[in-house]
Symmetry: C2
Subunit: 646 residues, 2 copies
Amino acid sequence: MASQEPALTSQKSKKSSEEPETTPQEPVPTTPLIPSAKYSNRVVLKTILERSDGGVGLAGARLVIGGWVKSSNELRNDPPSMQPEDNDGVAESPGHKEFSCMEILQTRVPLFRSIAKIFGASGNFPVRARLQQASSKPPAASTPSPPPIVKLLVNDGSCVASLHVTIEFSDDFPIRPLPIGTCVLAEGVLNQLPAQAKHSIEFKVEKFLHIGTVEDDKYLLSKKRLPLESLRDYSHFRPRTTTMASVMRIRSALAFATHSFFQDNGFLSMEVPIMTTTDGEGCSAKFRVTTLSGKEVEKGKPKITDDTEGVRLEVVKGAIKEKNNLIQQLQRSDSNKEALFIAEQDLLKTNQLLAQLEEKEKLRLETLKKASKANVPEDFFSQHTYLTVSGVLHLESYACSLGNVYSFGPRFRADRKGTAKQVAEMWAVEAEMAFSELEDAMNCAEDYFKFLCKWVLENCSADMKFVSKRIDKTRINLLEAMKSSSYERITYGEAVNILKKVADRKFETQPEWDNGLTSQHLSYLVDEIYKKPVIIYNFPKEFKPFYVRLNEDGKTVAAFDMIIPRGGTLITGSQKEERFNLLNERINGLGLARDQYEWYLDLRRHGTVKHSGFTLGFDLMVLFATGIPDVREAIPFPRSSGKVNN
Amino acid sequence: MASQEPALTSQKSKKSSEEPETTPQEPVPTTPLIPSAKYSNRVVLKTILERSDGGVGLAGARLVIGGWVKSSNELRNDPPSMQPEDNDGVAESPGHKEFSCMEILQTRVPLFRSIAKIFGASGNFPVRARLQQASSKPPAASTPSPPPIVKLLVNDGSCVASLHVTIEFSDDFPIRPLPIGTCVLAEGVLNQLPAQAKHSIEFKVEKFLHIGTVEDDKYLLSKKRLPLESLRDYSHFRPRTTTMASVMRIRSALAFATHSFFQDNGFLSMEVPIMTTTDGEGCSAKFRVTTLSGKEVEKGKPKITDDTEGVRLEVVKGAIKEKNNLIQQLQRSDSNKEALFIAEQDLLKTNQLLAQLEEKEKLRLETLKKASKANVPEDFFSQHTYLTVSGVLHLESYACSLGNVYSFGPRFRADRKGTAKQVAEMWAVEAEMAFSELEDAMNCAEDYFKFLCKWVLENCSADMKFVSKRIDKTRINLLEAMKSSSYERITYGEAVNILKKVADRKFETQPEWDNGLTSQHLSYLVDEIYKKPVIIYNFPKEFKPFYVRLNEDGKTVAAFDMIIPRGGTLITGSQKEERFNLLNERINGLGLARDQYEWYLDLRRHGTVKHSGFTLGFDLMVLFATGIPDVREAIPFPRSSGKVNN
């Protein structure tokens, strides 16, 4: 059957014939290969290195490992200063004086580069051929003779730790050290090392199955001491640094913890629209979405009318047909006059609707005709449409029918300047609960935050140890304290009064009811007075969005902010205004584009329910968990300012 | 302290004083209240109705329930045809002849509407006051005297089933039936009914804590028999229909199943950028993102250059300072000449970089100055930026450092016509695995799909029973079959040959190698020949994106499509081209904007690895699980065409 192209099996067998055969010095395998990971042809390093015995229990096992070289070292007479170092491509604190051994080797042994270039980018090059090429090139006169052993650290991104890998040289196997960043897939044996060794196991390569070379002089991460922020424009390589890999693993754990928390508590996951006409936050800096090109936007205008109008017309026509059938049936039976009367009334209404729709459709077609004559380009949407700033309003509509719902998705602000806490594209977790008031939302927010801290400590212990070592020594203790402490809850008025009484500190902004709370105020409350998270609630209505519920006093609203130690405001929440008249007044009073909020007012017109919820800035949570100071290092692909690389 | 506004506790106590007092006829509570849900003041109905005993074990319990009235009925002498019906606002199949009792009541008893209007939208109206208002209005002469009992079905969105609720009338408690859509929060007692009753428990209301009225004549869902598609423009009410609520619960379960599958298998969750300059699919219909208004776009142009340039300049200057310090230290010690040499070389290179950056910065400032003089508006981004069509390329960059990664997020296509399978904004699940080939990706895709089917059957049994009843009787069996069957795998060439031999069917497009496979072909293969999912792989390279790995035959690529019964193509996947030269040729050959792909080529330049992955159309999976025919009913807020309501 597969006459026209190779079937998978034949392709597979063809490929395996290309694989290097067993090299002469390879010992006869005494143990079978450990099975590979489920969807891969190698053993994931985490399953070796994060065993409670550090992998010792697997000693003697034959397996295939894969990963990227983190450091490379020739064993020489004075090895102590040349032990492999875990190169994470990130600047150490000043005064740290380690060197990448590869830098030294490359400087002294230019041959290595030329070998790498010969191999080119064809990663699937058989080792046998590679070796032949390498050995056929006579060593340069100034090059020292190849050392007997090369030690690598290899990391596959599954965990912080790297595997110690040994390659033994001989005349038959004269492979050169592989530069930092090289991808290796190798079969070999895991050996236990003597008790006095620094590490307990190492992997001895017997054959390479694949090598992905690096153009070493162009590879950004070949050098140590790159400040993390200098890698922002290289997000495609950034996760190869140990620090960014840890941050991304912790981020992933926080994402799954989020889903676990809400699903365990009976919340339904909902996606809110990314493209929307509704603006929940009164945000002035929004991204517009359009299908017009530059020139077309000039002449263009929003799409004239909805082209689903025609579809709806058909639907209504179908419904009328059905209703007519029903009436005929009822007329035949003659038993249910009441039902017949209702059906007739219903038909009447539907006919009226049809007439309206037909009128609209006529108008639409006429306008289309005119537009087509004038050759005016049409935008995709009939109204100006933006990237969503917040999903809260949409999520409410689902809370007002399904109960408890949450959403995890991207949110956008076109602020010109990226800051350490705000970039153009960030992810948020939003939760909304029906039959729920302000205090319920505060309880849920507190539980959720505690759950996140606990989850990271329990599920990311190696990564947390690493970030504590490299970024912030106190981070683990800080997260521990979050798990257990009871959080302070004070009103906005209380917060202002407390800050007014502070004598030992001069604030840039004087704490006054009308001034609002600055980050300096918040930090003083949380980091110096309470030394634990503080929830401030009942804000003056001027400081919060239109949808927050007005309190009995008429001047405050049922909103809260949760401020965390050394992290600022992480969660904002509120009980929503469920009373139609009050919400309506507020929308009118603020002069909002009322037609955009009719659907939102509908939720109060029909079956209104008390509901509350909150939003957590997910990227800020990553900052808090890791101690990373800038959100551009917490986001996989930062869109901080004008630049988009990919 | 809380002088300026009420503290939460006082607010709470104030509120509770407004709650209606115990009505006279209320029995003395014999049992304590069942605790409410964790973040709410009511018991979630699912915890009663989805107990294995149907809630009977809770008989006699006092509790607070909340939800929306799904149907309402007065008990009269001939109750059989008037039993409460589960109104889901969706058209029955033709011939179904139930009526909403409320329609009948409203027609006959106009008073009910006027009462609803008096209550207005102030949902927090004390019941006592409501009752007084209601009773102070003398019944119209034509109105029948109030019946003794009203039966409601109340649903809170947590499950398919609704709670049977009884309100007993008396002169002291003359409450009227509450129209469909009314929100109720009520305290009462759960009673077991006699064995001959149709249902086993019912809730007897003792007092209402909150009522959210409906403007009944304007409330869309007051009427039965609305076709589901007629609700597309009313996404804020749509989940109040039983059908859409079930679809959304199944959707939520599928989302959590997705996270569970990948996290259990060691995949890391990654967010890919929504705003991007890279186009992975060669999609012509993209949404542009801009901060320019219509007129500005005319004059405007992309942002001139990156304003992080200045930041990078500072970073490099800092690095030079550090490197100078290091050299001074090394010069002092005089012991490590080798290290000194390297450090000096390093400084030299960094100084060269600084010179380049300074030149760029100078140019940038000059251009800025010119632009500012010409008063040309600047867009937010320096290049034309679009909403992402696919996250595959970005996800690859994370797979090429972290191993196995997945992403769940929104993807965008500005196709003019929304179809039953494609709208502008859809969610996709993308997975990418390092050290992984085509077969690994097919295995993983198959396991993932089986996992989803199993999860829905196990975790959404009530919802699946409902959708099977209302939408597609065979759906549960279909999902069951997916769990266990082994899926067929054939090459594209085999598929064409099989279809060529088909004699009993005339296809619109003749099956030929160059013609591609149409949906008619795929449906024949899956639904008529194999009757199980079919994975077709090794497609002609012309039919697949540039990044798919070229097979040995030079004409096919390592891509696959998974076609599911009655669902078409659900998953597309591929092994990616890891060989720099071949990828480079392909990008050049297709004439793609090469500078957009430099970062992507970098992944092959440095440490390239074999990797593969796949994309599942999440909304199409919801269609498959529920049997819903149109994707616009599978998405919480469909953006099908020109219209955006919210």
